[in-house]
Amino acid sequence: MAQKVLMVDPSKCTGCRTCEMACSLYNEQKCSPVLSGIRIIKFEAKGMNFPTVCSHCSKPQCMSACPAGAIVHDKVTGAVIINETDCIGCHKCLQSCPFGQINFHPEKEAAFKCHLCGGDPVCVKYCPSGALTYVFADEYMMSKRRELNMKFTVMEG
């Protein structure tokens, strides 16, 4: 069955980092960017902001790298999840993720990352600019195609 994916659109991101606050408060009961599963990379001088978050790969390199078998796919959401109690804190997953999307929890001494909040990610819910969406891949791509082709219809009209 097709599963929803968390898509980011940097062209819409205003760099406000509301997503970081929503994530850390909801999941960790504290407010701190370092406890957030989603992070914004800011290029202040150029006015560009890039939301970065786990892609929840189908063949995750973090999962292959984990010697403790602590990383699994969630059967319902398809999210790649780190099982905190099984994690031995070896940092292998942090090194292996090609996108740099795994964090190390400063207090729990275990790796942590985005887990899609069980299928209703709070970052998406409170993103004020629409830069984050949680959608079926096909629907997302179709709407992107539609947006692109809309320009041509305007040109002809």
Binding site: R17, L25, E44, A45, Y126, P128
Partner: protein
């Protein structure tokens, strides 16, 4: 500790001593946060005898219980100092957006106090509780983006947040500002000049300590509700769409308070060139949000055509657009964006920079300044080549720029000419808003403001946008008549209410646009947010009382400098020259009628404009009441002397 950090970090640049002080809970309850803590500290530590550029002056950064949390638009920071811009130099603070304030909170401090003076240029690097005073000799003379890039490279850390001064601050241009995250300004009151006087080029921050929340689930829910309200809010949506530039169309056409040519009139037939729509469709590269903001009014502009093609810069917002635009006779948006880039990068307040140039241009027009005074420059309204040159001359204090770097007030004093055309209050330049059209509550705020000519004293948008919220103005003030900008009804009460709310917002630190432009967040909502974050229960009334306390204390700061009733004066143009054209033709600001009423509402004495002893005691400021007594006597003498001089 929940919400708060309970700590202030003090750095003495003379002795290189770094200390951490505990802030007692009682003190936090009394002064709430950011602006409140800062104003109290300035009152206590920087007395009337301290000169703004002396090492004894303090540069204080303050954040509040909601800074760096999920509360909407709450990452701001208040910077407070004794300001060099006014005459006499007096109370100065400036509120800065961006992400710097939140980062300060994450270092584990509610306040950062800088005092003393470094022997040679330095910058600070604060990483949680580690403080380094680092050499900045190689950064001196560099502009804002250059310095930001160099420090990041040097520390090999690109996720730090840096507050920086440009060449203007180093040269102590009286209205030099401090910029953080490259394009966010603590613009007004010469923060950059004071920083420059301390030989401090920048403050770089990296903080990783989480903010603990007393009741996290409840706090999440309250913040989420406030965010939902802001999402549905028309004002917030318009601010997202056009930024504060949405103001130029109504300001120019329907309401007529644009500051055309140094406030000579409030309207120009081609004003639509400056509209938010035109900016959005032709110059907007990107919308930018401050920390945790659910509005994102910030703009990032790109010029794609003409002489300045290819230039990018943060901004402009309304005050900048109007200040280095129509106020100096300029209507070309590309030129204004270019000028904005210049002042941003050199580190100057666009309001006061525009004001100084506007004053000089009007004096030149009226024959009060000649080429002999201006190093041969011909000062013509809207001459972009000249404006470009003047901005650079001011920042580096070259030639005639050296005089304008003192600001309009001190420049007029220097020449002993053109005082009438300095659009200043207490020596500080008006922002780009004319009370003859903007509204009378705003007018009261300008005349009595704690910073001088300043629309942010109360930001009483109840008279501007209040009408969009059915029943709101009536609920607060008992009558909806006050929704009319040019009605006098309940305006003193409106200004007082707005000042109190604004002070609370500045303490928390929550952006004014959530509670004083949009009214999606009301004092009750703030009370819920701060109570669940800190675990200390505040009611809306208690918060407003703290707001009032801060206003009284800041007033007392001025009173100690023997500034009161006599100095609460708008530029004469607003009270003596009726608006010459546009929708408000014939309107004057009724200052003499409204100020006494405002004093009455505030509990300030009508003769001196000092807060009465009983009101200070009611607001739990008995020591301030005692201290002011001797100044009251001295001020009465000052009034008598000035009356004798006039007769």
């Amino acid at each position: 500790m929940y919400g708060y950090r309970g700590k202030r970090l003090r750095v003495d640049l003379s002795s290189k001593k770094v200390t951490v002080e505990e802030i007692p809970v009682g003190h936090l309850k009394k002064w709430l946060g950011g602006r409140g803590l800062n104003s109290e500290l300035l009152y206590r530590e920087v007395g009337p005898e301290v000169e703004p550029f002396s090492p004894e002056n303090r540069l204080v950064f303050g954040v509040g219980p909601l800074t760096g949390t999920f509360a909407p638009s709450s990452g701001r920071c208040t910077v407070t100092t004794k300001s060099p811009i006014q005459d006499p130099p007096g109370f100065g603070d400036s509120n800065m957006g961006g992400h710097w304030g939140a980062e300060l909170k994450y270092t584990g401090h509610d306040q950062l106090i800088i005092q003393g003076k470094a022997e040679s240029p330095v910058y600070l690097y604060i990483h949680n509780d580690q403080v380094e005073i680092r050499d900045a000799e190689h950064l001196w003379g560099k502009n804002i983006p250059q310095t930001d890039a160099m420090i990041k490279e040097e520390l090999n850390n690109y996720d730090i947040h840096i507050a920086i001064i440009g060449p203007a601050g180093e040269n102590r241009v009286r209205y030099a500002c401090m910029m953080s995250d490259v394009y966010r300004a603590a613009g007004r009151c010469g923060m950059g000049a004071v920083m420059g006087s301390k030989n401090l080029k920048a403050v770089a921050l990296r903080g990783t300590t989480p903010v603990e929340i007393a009741r996290p689930k409840e706090f999440f829910k309250i913040c989420a509700q406030a965010r939902e309200k802001l999402k549905q809010d028309l004002m917030a949506q318009m601010l997202y769409d056009q930024g504060t530039l949405l103001l130029t169309m109504p300001a120019n056409y329907e309401q007529g308070w644009l500051c055309w040519r140094n406030f000579q009139k409030g309207h120009h037939p081609d004003g639509r060139l400056l509209s938010g729509e035109n900016h959005r469709d032709n110059f907007l590269a990107h919308r930018e949000g401050c920390f945790a903001c659910s509005i994102s009014c910030g703009r990032f502009s790109k010029i794609s055509k003409g002489k300045y093609a290819g230039e990018i810069t943060g901004g402009p917002e309304y005050e900048t657009l109007a200040g280095i635009g129509p106020r100096i006779g300029l209507l070309d948006p590309a030129s204004i964006i270019h000028n904005n880039k210049l002042v941003n990068e050199l580190g100057m307040d666009s309001c006061s920079c525009g004001a100084a140039i506007a004053w000089a241009m009007e004096c030149y027009e009226k024959g009060l300044l000649t080429q002999e005074d201006t190093d041969g420059l011909v000062l013509k309204w809207g001459d972009q080549e000249l404006i470009d040159k003047l901005i650079k001359m001011i920042a580096s204090r070259r030639g005639f720029g050296d005089v304008l770097a003192e600001g309009a007030h001190y420049a007029a004093k220097h020449f002993n000419r053109g005082q009438y055309y300095t659009m200043t209050i207490k020596g500080h330049d008006m922002s780009q808003d004319d009370p003859r059209g903007l509204g009378f509550a705003f007018g009261i705020g300008f005349a009595t403001g704690r910073r001088g000519g300043d629309h942010l004293q109360g930001l009483p948008c109840l008279e501007l946008t209040g009408g969009f919220y059915p029943g709101l103005v009536k609920k607060i003030l008992g009558t909806s008549e006050a929704e009319d900008r040019l009605s006098k009804v309940k305006k003193p009460e409106m200004e007082k209410y707005s000042e109190d709310v604004k002070a609370v917002g500045d303490c928390l630190t929550q952006c004014s646009f959530t509670h004083s432009w949009s009214f999606a967040v009301l004092p009750e909502d703030m009370a819920k947010m701060v109570s669940s974050a800190t675990g200390i229960d505040f009611s809306a009334d208690e918060l407003l009382k703290i707001g009032g306390r801060i206003v009284h204390l800041e007033r007392a700061y001025w009173n100690r400098l023997l500034v009161g009733r006599l100095e609460d004066k708008s530029p004469r143009r607003f009270t003596e020259e009726p608006m010459p054209d546009g929708p408000n033709k014939g309107v004057l600001f009724p200052e003499d009628e409204l100020i006494p009423l405002y004093y009455q509402v505030r509990g300030w004495d009508n003769e001196t404009g000092f807060p009465k002893a009983e009101i200070l005691k009611e607001y739990d400021l008995p020591q301030v009441a005692d201290e002011l007594e001797k100044y009251r006597t001295r001020y009465l003498k000052k009034i008598n002397n000035s009356a004798e001089c006039e007769s």
